[in-house]
């Protein structure tokens, strides 16, 4: 079988599996967030915390929950890294430096999982499982909770109530993320991913050399890393490491896991607003952009432009033999478009134009299909913008799902879409102007600039993947990227929740003959167009200086 035919089958199997699973999973998630019953374990948690899970919150209270919980998480994770040597199972690793500990805490709490450290020689068993892996769960749950609050804003009327943050958080962790992760982790172990709390293990090879084999609770972290679209690898090589991703099937499974919740949430949205077709219009836009990206990158990587790749006879630099070009390209597009940021191959060594597509995937704002929760709310904001543009064309007050998109709503949506471009473009410009960008580059020229642009794009959009030649572990970049990650995560949430509150207060507008039918393919097309135009206009100059200059040189 030719590689290309095999790749077509891999993508087909992936789409088939997602199509099969999104309905039961999406419906299940809707039921979880709409249920009035609490599990016994949940009741115990609420009692210990002193929270009333049935108390409805208006948007400021909901937001306060999100922000305070996340701030406490940052502090806790920071402290854990600073004192990791004091715990058992520390593997002899030293405390992490203050700037790197802040960067890592900001990174894992904001669901970015940018890693300026190298897992196998920095983080102890305790930091990995009780710090980083915990944030993999709860940061994902916070994202989903905010998305659910926005959906309630559309679904409810004449009330400011958006649900209860604690209940959404706990249910998401216990009823959704943990069960999926347990199953996924066991499958990964069965395929060869390691799962132990041993010590670094030195063996003598047949040639008489010594080799140190790393231990770790890898499979359990790998599962939630993908399911929660986190992306922080146990090891520096991330999902390229054979202990994290041992074969072609685990590679496919990991791609499936990182896509499954983002592609199922629109179904949850459709259920909760009482019209599943609305969800399909959203999923259509997500899938279209993702699929175009997969085709573009796979095609470019097989064509292998670039002097070194041409000489080698293929674009295998920074790729594993068991995955090859096709499976690596599919992973790369899926991880950058979901805000996951785990990698099974190194994007820095992809050809210039592929790198540009991956960058663009993040610049779209992580909405195709985006991170868990953040993908859905990001896409719904774009839907509001698209409805607004359509409204301008025909001169009608725009409405979406029976809610008027007035001045207040459009202001909030506009603020939302301005945040990440501001952070990443200013971050990149500052780094370049202060000479901090140049000193951290591995590559020269346009590709070197792409490394800096990629770093700030990845941090601001909470992706976490890197053109990893970029030497990010400096005081300057640890601090600035840490700020980009925190602001890029939580400022948008402020606007999302404010918008949710404002929508929930409205009374519904009955549809008329002139209402834009947002459940039709025409709207999906309009949405994709709006996304591409807005992103294109915002980022074209930066892309032209980096990947386009390199790719067309």
């Amino acid at each position: 079988m030719s590689s290309v035919l095999a790749d077509v089958l891999v993508v087909t199997a992936l789409i088939g599996a997602l199509a099969l699973v999104h309905r039961p999973l999406g419906d299940y998630m809707a039921a979880v967030f709409q249920s009035e019953k609490h599990l016994r374990a949940e009741k115990w948690i609420y009692r210990s915390v002193g929270a009333n899970p049935d108390a409805e919150m208006r948007w400021p209270a909901y937001l306060r929950g999100v922000l305070v919980f996340s701030a406490v998480s940052v502090l806790f994770l920071y402290l854990l890294q600073r004192i990791q040597g004091k715990f058992p199972l520390s593997l002899g690793f030293k405390p992490i430096t203050p700037d790197q500990a802040f960067n890592t805490a900001a990174s894992f709490v904001s669901n970015t999982n940018w890693q300026s450290y190298s897992g196998e020689v920095a983080m102890s068993h305790v930091t990995q499982t009780m710090g980083l892996a915990v944030q993999n769960f709860v940061s994902a749950a916070v994202g989903i909770a905010v998305a659910v609050a926005l959906v309630r804003g559309f679904a409810r009327s004449r009330t400011g109530d958006l649900g209860n943050f604690w209940a959404d958080l706990v249910r998401c962790v216990i009823r959704i993320l943990v069960p999926i992760s347990v199953v996924a982790a066991v499958i990964l172990i069965a395929c060869g991913a390691v799962q132990n709390f041993g010590d670094i293990h030195t063996i003598t090879t047949l040639t008489g050399d010594k080799q140190a084999i790393s231990p770790g609770a890898v499979a359990s972290q790998e599962a939630i890393k993908d399911v929660g679209t986190n992306g922080g690898g146990f090891f520096n090589a991330n999902s390229a490491h054979p202990f994290e991703n041992p074969n072609g099937f685990t590679n496919w499974l990991e791609i499936f896991l990182l896509l499954v919740i983002p592609f199922s949430l629109p179904r949850t949205f459709g259920r909760m607003v009482g019209n599943v077709k609305q969800g399909y219009a959203i999923v259509g836009a997500m899938a279209t952009i993702w699929f175009l990206g997969v085709i573009a990158v796979t095609w470019i990587e097989y064509a292998h432009p670039g002097t070194a790749s041409q000489l080698a006879g293929g674009a295998m630099e920074g790729k594993e033999q068991r995955f090859g070009e096709g499976n690596s390209s599919l992973f790369a597009v899926s991880t950058t478009m979901t805000s996951t940021g785990s990698v099974n191959s190194f994007h820095d060594s992809f050809s210039g134009l592929s790198g540009g597509v991956l960058l663009l995937g993040m610049m779209l704002g992580e909405i195709a299909p985006g991170g868990v929760g953040s993908g859905l709310y990001g896409m719904l904001i774009m839907a509001i913008i698209a409805v607004f543009i359509a409204g301008l064309m025909v001169g009608r007050t725009p409405e979406y799902l029976g809610k008027k998109i007035g001045t207040r709503e459009i202001k909030l949506a506009a603020c939302y879409i301005l945040i990440t471009p501001t952070l990443m473009l200013i971050g990149t410009a500052l780094a370049m102007a202060l000479g901090k960008g140049e000193s951290s580059m591995t590559n020269i020229g346009a590709h070197g600039f792409s490394e800096v642009l990629y770093a700030y794009t990845s941090a601001s959009n909470n992706n976490g993947s890197a053109f990893a030649g970029f030497a990010a572990n400096t005081e300057y970049h640890n601090t600035m990227l840490g700020l980009c990650m925190v602001l890029g995560r939580f400022l948008p949430m402020v606007f999302v929740l404010a918008l949710a509150g404002s929508l929930a207060e409205q009374k519904p507008v009955p549809p008329t003959a002139g209402t834009l039918r947002t459940e039709k393919p025409l709207f999906t097309g309009l949405l994709v167009g709006a996304i591409l135009i807005i992103t294109g206009l915002t980022f074209f100059p930066a892309l032209a200086l980096g990947p386009l200059a390199e790719g067309l040189a």
Partner: protein, 194 residues
């Protein structure tokens, strides 16, 4: 709110940071003991490596490849599992061009084949720097040299390579590959017998 948040975080740490990894470790260790501990491979009762972690096949203490063994892909960390990751060089980078050119020349001379026959995985660094596999094409290129240096016939060694060539997982996922450690262990056994 702050204390409630802290208590919530600690409780969720118990669930996801302690109970979850321990549960998974318990299941993994009980059902898939060898895999959960790194798929270690033994020769004569002694561990000689992990099936999943690539190794250096240089002559001990040097950076010269040992002609008696099948060689893996170039690794910029010398197959050190505590320094995983790739070169990070761009596809047009002058250093990478130089590395590829040098690797191509070295592989061609070492195996006595023309440069045009050197496959792509033989001259490019992997993503992990501990890639345990090579392409079947790269194994084929090495057969003659390995046979000669182990006192075996080309047919014997070629048969070994064919036996150790793994197809794609489930027939279509991933790429075809040869596990270098397993191949070399089989080679050692065969050479000892003859």
């Amino acid at each position: 709110m702050v204390w409630a948040s802290l208590r919530m975080l600690l409780l969720l740490t118990v669930v996801t940071g302690i109970a979850y990894p321990l549960l998974v470790t318990g299941i993994g260790q009980a059902l898939f003991h060898d895999k959960a501990n790194g798929s270690m491979v033994e020769v004569d009762g002694k561990e000689v490596g992990s099936k999943l972690i690539g190794q250096s096949w240089n002559i001990k203490g040097t950076d010269k490849p040992d002609p008696k063994w099948f060689q893996g892909r170039p690794s910029h960390s010398g197959y050190d599992p505590l320094a995983t990751g790739s070169s990070q060089l761009g596809a047009s980078d002058p250093t990478l061009v130089e590395n590829v050119r040098a690797a191509k020349k070295q592989v061609a001379e070492f195996n006595g084949v023309p440069e045009s026959e050197v496959p792509k995985d033989a001259v490019t660094g992997s993503a992990s720097a501990i890639d345990p596999h090579i392409s079947p094409e790269y194994a084929d290129v090495q057969v003659e040299r390995v046979a000669e240096n182990n006192g075996l016939t080309v047919a014997q060694v070629q048969k070994l390579v064919d036996e150790h060539t793994d197809g794609r997982t489930l027939g279509f996922m991933g790429e075809r590959h040869v596990n270098v450690l397993e191949l070399n262990i089989a080679l050692k056994e065969l050479a000892a017998k003859s």
